[in-house]
């Protein structure tokens, strides 16, 4: 048996299903009946899938495993390259998330757009500034001024408060 990412994920699914079944065992009938009647078969089938995955890693081709009825993946790239680029993009997503958490949407949205276009996409200043401005107008116009979304209070509120003092109609 060879440990593959697919096998590890199937094990993860089985563990989650098991945890859901176990935690539902003390619930009263009305609350627990549906979770248990779905959870137990899911757990059993996840375990069967786990055994099959362990067995199949030796027997079937990758292409057979990938025909899932879902959108297709480009398998021509090496796993190392996929991991490196995937991690880089995950880094940008996490950067955006923590930016929003720490500095708020009004600072993070334009800064993220500008930095990504300039340093990841390596675009010229002209296009970068134009697209950042368009994104900012769309974000403020639609989500702030029309929809009046309630924005969360950032952890470091100084920069956003300064921005709002310059543009009091924001947020």
């Amino acid at each position: 048996m060879r440990i593959t990412p697919s096998l590890v994920f199937t094990l993860f699914v089985a563990v989650v299903a098991a945890a859901m079944v176990v935690t539902s065992k003390d619930w009263p009938l009305g609350t627990g009946l549906f979770p248990r009647s779905v959870g137990v078969p899911v757990l059993v089938m996840a375990l069967i899938q786990l055994v099959m995955d362990a067995y199949r890693t030796l027997k079937t081709t990758a292409s057979q495993e990938r025909e899932t009825g879902d959108l297709q993946v480009d398998w021509t790239m090496s796993a190392a390259e996929v991991a490196a680029r995937g991690l880089a993009f995950a880094g940008w997503l996490l950067g955006m998330f923590f930016g929003i958490l720490l500095l708020g949407f009004f600072i993070t949205v334009p800064v993220f757009t500008l930095l990504y276009l300039k340093y990841q996409a390596k675009e010229g200043w002209n296009l970068t500034l134009w697209l950042t401005a368009i994104m900012l107008v769309f974000f403020v116009g639609v989500f702030d001024q029309i929809l009046h979304i309630h924005w969360l209070e950032p952890v470091i509120s100084g920069p956003e408060n300064f921005l709002k003092s310059l543009m009091p109609w924001l947020g």
Partner: protein, 499 residues
């Protein structure tokens, strides 16, 4: 009746009312194209402004606004695999691969035109059903709705490709995820970990954005190309897509009827209709098992005709009984009441002309939306040739904003990131994502109607005639899809060893 139909149309065609209706069309189109928003947001925004308006103009504007977002929600679905509204998730499965093959224009043409025909068919059926609404809607009680939920979940068998066991497990996990939050029967908390955010359960917009949008965006960024590498000159255009709809008119018609039917039944919701239509098309179209999921235009026509037709169907219980089948219909009822109209029998008697002006509004709004959308299709299709690194930050910001506006909590962003990671791993590890989403969508509905059915009828709810019919259709569908799958295996020489 014909006099009321004519009066309804005449009332709508005054310049002022028509302009208000067109305003509703334009706002609805804009909201459909922005992921996470939709008709509900638009109705909530415009409702307060209708207080002093003429009732016919106000209702026409709001009906138009709620009818057309499902036309333009195709744009982000096809270009970026980001569902524009919850009703356009299934369109991604073939619409996005079409864009990647340089056929974005064709996908848009097919989607808009089938949306137009679906919307008009839905309106026509609504108009025809007005005299016989009551017995039709009363046919469906909790047991029948439960059996329809089971029929919906059976689509997992069709949506799982050649990994049925993974599909069933994914569907089951979706059902389990739908149970997170307050249990509606006993009022107890399930898997909330004392988090206030989870009390109301996971939000469907956030989950679908995470499961589909972020993984597709990540894969496009990883590949580092534009959405389509086909040269602009070779891109197939909108005319091709329109011809596809005519070539598949019978599929479009079937799915439009299916969409109207789903709309008529309160409680099934727009999030399910596209998957039902897609599953129906995949199980009935010739060679669909080979081509669906790889950019088959029939996989676009089916959900798009159904989700527009559903809007007409959803007006049936709203107008006849004042039963809103969705949040947007609940807001429409609010609009009726603001203008002194009581949904129910009076809408079919003394206000019949207004009821028919609603039917006309639905039909005309769909036509106008398609005409406007078709004008911009070829320009939109060109976005697929822009390098993904330019589009990625813009799409990322829109996905984050769309997720955040769901409940305005930082946990919306945590959830979208976690489901993004889950979706990406599922895709890479050969686990189908559509069954997970289908299970999540249907879980609450199945549990609710099962509980009501057992309480009201005991085990005998299973032998009600319509329940038996729906369950028989479900079994036949599963049998047919398994047979199709076997045929594919035989033709491709795959014995399914180890399966």
């Amino acid at each position: 009746m014909f006099e009321a139909m004519a009066d309804g149309l005449t009332a709508l065609l005054s310049v002022e009312r028509f302009l208000f209706m067109m305003f509703g069309v334009v706002v609805g189109m804009a909201l459909g194209a922005i992921p996470g928003l939709g008709g509900v947001v638009g109705l909530a925004l415009l409702l307060p402004f209708t207080f002093d308006m003429d009732p016919t103009a106000a209702i026409a504007m709001l009906v138009a606004l709620s009818s057309v977002p499902v036309t333009t929600d195709t744009i982000p679905s096809v270009l970026f695999a980001v569902p524009g509204t919850v009703g356009s998730q299934a369109t991604i499965l073939d619409g996005h691969p079409m864009a990647r093959k340089g056929e974005a224009g064709r996908a848009f043409g097919a989607a808009y035109f089938s949306s137009l025909l679906g919307g008009v068919i839905g309106a026509v059926i609504l108009g025809m059903l007005i005299p016989i609404l009551k017995p039709l809607v009363l046919l469906f009680a909790a047991p029948e709705l439960f059996s329809l939920g089971i029929m919906g979940i059976s689509m997992v068998a069709i949506l799982s490709g050649r990994v049925p066991l993974k599909g069933i497990v994914a569907g089951g996990m979706g059902l389990l995820l739908s149970m997170i939050g307050i249990d509606k029967q006993e009022g107890l908390l399930r898997w909330t970990f004392d988090s206030l955010y989870l009390f109301d359960g996971l939000n469907i917009i956030v989950v679908s954005l995470g499961i589909f949008a972020l993984p597709e965006l990540a894969d496009m960024v990883i590949e580092g190309k534009q959405i389509s590498s086909v040269p602009k000159q070779a891109m197939k255009g909108v005319g091709h897509g329109i011809r596809d709809v005519f070539a598949n008119w019978w599929l479009m018609l079937r799915c439009a009827f299916l969409g109207t039917w789903v709309g008529i039944i309160p409680g099934l919701g727009s999030a399910v209709v596209d998957w039902l239509a897609y599953g129906h098309a995949k199980s009935t179209c010739k060679d669909a098992a080979f081509t669906f999921g790889t950019g088959d235009v029939r996989g676009v026509i089916a959900p798009e005709s159904a989700n527009n037709a559903k809007q007409g169907g959803a007006l049936v219980p709203t107008l006849a009984f004042g039963i809103p089948g969705s949040a947007s219909m609940a807001l429409l009822i609010g609009a009726f009441m603001i203008h002194g109209l009581q949904p129910g029998p009076s809408m079919l008697n003394e206000h019949l002309d207004l009821t028919y002006s609603i039917v006309w509004s639905t039909a005309i709004a769909n036509i106008m939306a398609t005409v406007i959308a078709l004008c911009f299709t070829n320009q939109l299709a060109k976005i697929s040739s822009v390098r993904i690194n330019i589009l990625a930050p813009l799409v990322t910001v829109v996905v984050f904003l769309a997720a955040y506006q769901a409940t305005a909590s930082i946990f919306d962003l945590v959830t979208v990131l976690l489901f993004g990671l889950l979706g990406w791993i599922m895709k890479r590890c050969g686990w189908p994502r559509p069954p997970l989403l289908l299970g999540f969508l249907l879980g609450g509905l199945i549990e609710r109607y099962l509980f009501i059915s057992v309480r009201a009828y005991g085990a005998s709810f299973l032998v009600r005639p319509l329940v038996l019919v729906v369950l028989a259709v479900t079994i036949a569908t599963i049998y047919y899809s398994v047979k199709q799958e076997r045929k594919v295996r035989q033709l491709t020489g795959d014995t399914g060893e180890g399966e």
